[in-house]
């Protein structure tokens, strides 16, 4: 790492004022578990780091009010694991957190950092996509909210403007008969970047058989960024849960997946995994619902 300055703001407003300089080579750093290895590999070369890690008073919180869960950008993955918020219906948040990196990484890696990294390696993004989460982007000029699916615009590209900082990820807790589940597979159990990670939020009608809404999200659908499986989700809406429906949904998912091969695994293997996980996620959600599967 060559010439590099580190700026430590006193509070969020100070950080936002600093971002107003519009210097494109400013990188925001929290714990640095993603940024620092990339800097060492010279994949990114910022000239200034804005260190927001001390702004925990402003940015580290897990709150729920009026049916909305709000996660401050500096909320750590360990915070998610320890929170009682993700016990029951939102259990996939805890599942994803428990499979994230390893304890040393979970202790410091942040929600905001994971979302801003915006690649298929990020464990939390499919979870937040399935929850239809929004990202709150703040600059000295004001704040705006962007749906997460629009926030991620390309591999490691986000809708963040140069003067903005992501301060919060929030989502409305699904109402009614809803359950969530998460699956991940990498080449080993821990400390691994997933070949496939997949999250499902399933909402059933009162009969506990008819699908009101299915939100399946994967770390890759086509290309190398996480996304909702839009066609599969549209197919499942209104269908009755059955083995036949799941088999049909697997076909739809297979048709919308376009997964490439790399050193982590082949595209064909990833596709098999994704289809198997769809079935498993549906069955797990239905099992929780006490309905049929």
């Amino acid at each position: 790492m060559s010439a590099l300055e580190l700026y430590s703001p006193t509070d969020l407003n100070d950080a936002l004022r600093f971002m107003e300089h519009g210097d494109r080579s400013v990188a925001v750093i929290a714990s640095g578990t993603d940024l620092l290895p990339r800097m060492r590999k010279r994949q990114v070369a910022p000239s200034v780091l804005l260190d927001i890690s001390s702004l925990t008073e402003d940015l580290r919180y897990i709150r729920r009010s009026d049916g909305t869960v709000r996660l401050g950008a500096l909320t750590t993955v360990a915070d998610l694991l320890e929170s009682p918020m993700f016990d029951d219906r939102l259990s996939m948040v805890r599942e994803a957190a428990s499979l994230f990196g390893a304890p040393q990484v979970r202790n410091v890696a942040t929600v905001g950092g994971n979302v801003c990294s915006a690649s298929s390696s990020e464990d939390l993004i499919p979870v937040f996509l399935a929850l239809e989460a929004e990202a709150k982007l703040v600059s000295a000029q004001g704040a705006r909210s962007v749906p997460l699916k629009d926030f991620i615009v390309g591999k490691r590209e986000t809708a963040l403007r140069p003067s903005e900082i992501l301060t919060e990820v929030s989502f409305i807790v699904p109402r009614g008969h809803n359950w969530t589940a998460y699956e991940k597979l990498g080449r080993r159990n821990m400390l691994i970047i997933a070949m496939v990670n997949e999250a499902l939020c399933l909402i059933l009608e009162d009969d506990l058989r008819t699908i009101r809404s299915a939100r399946l999200a994967l770390n890759r659908v086509s290309g190398k960024i996480p996304a909702l499986a839009a066609r599969t989700n549209a197919f499942l809406q209104g269908k009755k849960v059955s083995d036949g429906t799941i088999a049909e949904a697997q076909k739809v998912l297979a048709s919308e997946l376009s997964l490439t091969s790399d050193f982590r695994g082949s595209g064909a293997y990833r596709t098999e995994l994704a289809l198997t996980y769809l079935k498993r996620l549906m069955e797990r959600c239905c099992l929780k619902a006490g309905g049929t599967s």
Partner: protein
């Protein structure tokens, strides 16, 4: 580039050190403060061999900038040599042949000590999770798991 002076509380002692912005905590600990229990392996957060405690939390110090640690509490194995739990853990590692090449041992001890603080009688599953972020290059995990059981309880399983 201008050096800045930061103060690290290292193993209970305030240590002012001069750092450049890109300096990693691991380099400051090893090169400036001669804390050689802190090992460098992959430098990318994949092997956990550099695990230490910062403000009481187990972290990989190859992934931290020293400048971000100004005023924070850093604990390495050197700071725990007189700690009764650590002494017991070390004895248990020796008795169970948990160190083969020994490269991961300081990190394993730090993770085990951290676990013992929070969970005096951990299950094998808890132990596996606690050490899951540290790669033993010799793959001698079972001896390590046995050692942690024994080190936590202060007696055999």
């Amino acid at each position: 580039m201008t050096k800045r002076t930061i103060t690290l509380n290292v193993n209970g002692t305030e240590r002012p050190v001069q750092v450049d912005s890109p300096d990693r905590l691991i380099d400051v600990l090893r090169d400036q403060l001669s804390l050689k229990s802190v090992k460098e392996g992959c430098s990318t957060g994949d092997c956990g061999i550099c695990a230490i405690l910062v403000d009481g939390k187990l972290v990989n110090c190859c992934l931290m900038l020293a400048a971000q640690c100004d005023g924070r509490r850093v604990t390495t194995l050197e700071g725990l040599l007189e700690d009764p739990t650590m002494k017991r853990m070390q004895g248990s590692f020796v008795a169970n042949n948990a160190a083969q090449c020994g490269f991961c041992t300081p990190a394993m001890l730090m993770a085990s000590w951290d676990l013992a603080r929070h969970s005096p009688e951990p299950s094998s599953e808890e132990i596996k999770i606690a050490i899951s972020g540290i790669l033993c290059r010799c793959t001698g995990y079972y001896q390590i798991i046995d050692s942690v059981h024994e080190g936590c309880k202060g007696k055999g399983r």
